[in-house]
Homo-oligomer: 280 residues x 2
C-alpha cells in the first residue's frame, strides 16, 4: 500500500494505467468499521482503491471540534492496508489550501435544513473539499456512508450539477451492538453518555415502526421520537426530523415516496447524528 | 466531425479510447478567427479536439446582451470542421442547467476588480459553467484567448484551487487590420462605431510604449490612455486600468513583474474590452 502526501504523487499513481477503475473512500481518519465497510465495498467493485485521510478545516465552524477531532494515523494505515486499500492520500493542510486559495463550491438549496441549519458553513466546506478530492483522485466510484444522510444528498446534487464523471455509492450505516451508529466522535463520550447514546437509533426505529403501522401525521412521529430521546437525562436534542427524503423539507403528512427520519443530539459537548431512510 | 447535444454522447466519445489526449475549446459561438486560432493550436497539441458552443445565460446579468448575443450555428460548424475539430458539443440550456440545479462555483478575490467590478455576477457564471465543461469534456488541455485577460487569470486560479487535472493554454489575441481585437460583439457596431473602435488597442499600445520608455507613474499611463480614447466622440470609457498582472490590483508605481494594461469602452450599447499584458 502506497501512502502519498502530494497531489502529484496521487496523479502519477492514478494515471499509471488509465484503463483501470478506481474507487475513492474520503475520510477524516480515526477509522472505524463504518469506514472500513466502504473500503471493503470499494475493493469488490474497482481495480484499485484509494482512501484519503484529511481533517478538513473548512467544514468545521468556529467553536466546533476541529482541534480535538481524534487522530490515529498509524492505526488508520494498518486498518486500510488490512482492508485492501492500494493508495492512501494524507495531505497537509497546505497541500489542499495553499496560500492564495480563494475558490468555493456551494450547493445552495438542500443545504439549508437539518445539519445545514445547525452548521451553516459546514456543507460549503464539504462541497469544496470533495470537489477537490474528486479532481485529485478522479475516481470511477466514490464511497460515502448513509450515516451522514444529508451529506449523501448534497453530494448527489453536487455530482449531478457539476457533472462529475463518477458514480456515488452510498453504503449502509454500521452500528454497535446496541444500535449506536459508528462515528469517530463516539470516542468523546463518557461511559454514562455512551450508555444513553443508543437512544438515537432507538427513537428512529420507533418512529419508523409507527410510520410502517400507518401513521400519516409527521408531528406524531416527531413527538414520539422526542419523547424517547428526552427520557435519557444526558441527551439534549438539536433536532428531530421527519422530512421528504429528496428535498429534506419537513413533512406534515407522510405520503408514499422517500422519507428521511433523522436526529441530532448533544451529549455534553459531543454532537451525534443518525438517520433512517424509508421508501414508502 | 461529430456534433452532440447530450453529455452522455460527449462522455462516450471522450472515453472511447482513454489513452488519447483531448484539447477543449469552449466558445459561445459566432466564431471568428480568434476562436479558430484556439482550435488550430489545440489541433497541433492533442490527439482529439473538442469545441463547445453554449451561450451561457448565468454569465450575463439582467439588462446585458444575452437575448441579442449573435448566433450562427451552421456557419460555426463549417468553420470548426475546416479548422480540424473532431467533436462539437452544442447543448440546450436544459442540458447544462436542468430543473433543480443549485450549485455554484466562485473565485472570490481576483474577481472583484475590472470586469468583476462592472459585471459582479459574471465570473461566478463563468467559473460554474467552465467547471461543468471541464468535468463533461475532461480535457488534457483547455484553450482560452488572452482577449479576456481577467477570465484567463480567474480560470488559472480555478484550475489551481479545485485541482483540475488539465493544462490551461492561453493564446494571443487575434486582431483586425486596424488593431481591433476580434470579438463576436464587434458585430453590434455601426459603421461609425467600428471606425472608432480601434482606439482601444491604440490607447493600450501607447500606454505600453510609455511604460517601455521608462514611465513609472501608473496614473500618467492611465491618463494618456484615457485622453486617447476620449478623442473618439462615440467612445464612453467604463474603465482604464494599469494593474498588477497577478492580483489585478491597480498600480501606483510600475515595478518589474507582470503588468496588465486593460480597458473597457462602450460604443452605444456595445461594450468592448481589450488588454496588453507586459512582463517587465
Amino acid at each position: 500500500m502506497d501512502v502519498f502526501n502530494s497531489i502529484s504523487e496521487i496523479r502519477q499513481s492514478r494515471w499509471a494505467d488509465p484503463t483501470l477503475s478506481w474507487g475513492l473512500v474520503p475520510t477524516m481518519g480515526y477509522l472505524h468499521q463504518g469506514h472500513l465497510s466502504l473500503v471493503q465495498k470499494a475493493r469488490t467493485e474497482n481495480d484499485r482503491v484509494m482512501a484519503t485521510i484529511f481533517v478538513n478545516p473548512t467544514q468545521f465552524a468556529e467553536g466546533e471540534d476541529l482541534s480535538s477531532y481524534p487522530r490515529s494515523l498509524k492505526r488508520d494505515l494498518d486498518l486500510l492496508k488490512e482492508a485492501g486499500c492500494d493508495v492512501v492520500f494524507v495531505p497537509q493542510d497546505s497541500e489542499i489550501y495553499p496560500d492564495g486559495f480563494q475558490t468555493a463550491v456551494s450547493v445552495n438549496v438542500i443545504t439549508k435544513q437539518l445539519e445545514g441549519a445547525s452548521r451553516p458553513t459546514h456543507f460549503g466546506g464539504v462541497a469544496t473539499v470533495v470537489t477537490k478530492l474528486f479532481n485529485i483522485a478522479q475516481p470511477t466510484n466514490a464511497y460515502f456512508g448513509q450515516k451522514d444522510a444529508q451529506q449523501t444528498i448534497v453530494l448527489k446534487q453536487l455530482v449531478e450539477d457539476l457533472n462529475f464523471n463518477l458514480n456515488l455509492v452510498i453504503c449502509p450505516t454500521v452500528r454497535e451492538a446496541d444500535g449506536l451508529a459508528m462515528s469517530s466522535r463516539n470516542a468523546y463520550l463518557s461511559k454514562d453518555e455512551r450508555n444513553q447514546a443508543h437512544v438515537l437509533f432507538q427513537a428512529l426505529t420507533e418512529g419508523k415502526n409507527l410510520i410502517l403501522k400507518g401513521e400519516k401525521n409527521a408531528a406524531e412521529v416527531r413527538h414520539l421520537m422526542k419523547k424517547l430521546i428526552e427520557q435519557q437525562p444526558l441527551a439534549k436534542i438539536d433536532y428531530v426530523s421527519v422530512a421528504n427524503g429528496r428535498s429534506l423539507e419537513e413533512l406534515e403528512t407522510i405520503e408514499d415516496g422517500e422519507v428521511l427520519l433523522s436526529t441530532a443530539v448533544y451529549f455534553g459537548n459531543t454532537r451525534l447524528i443518525d438517520n433512517i431512510p424509508l421508501s414508502l
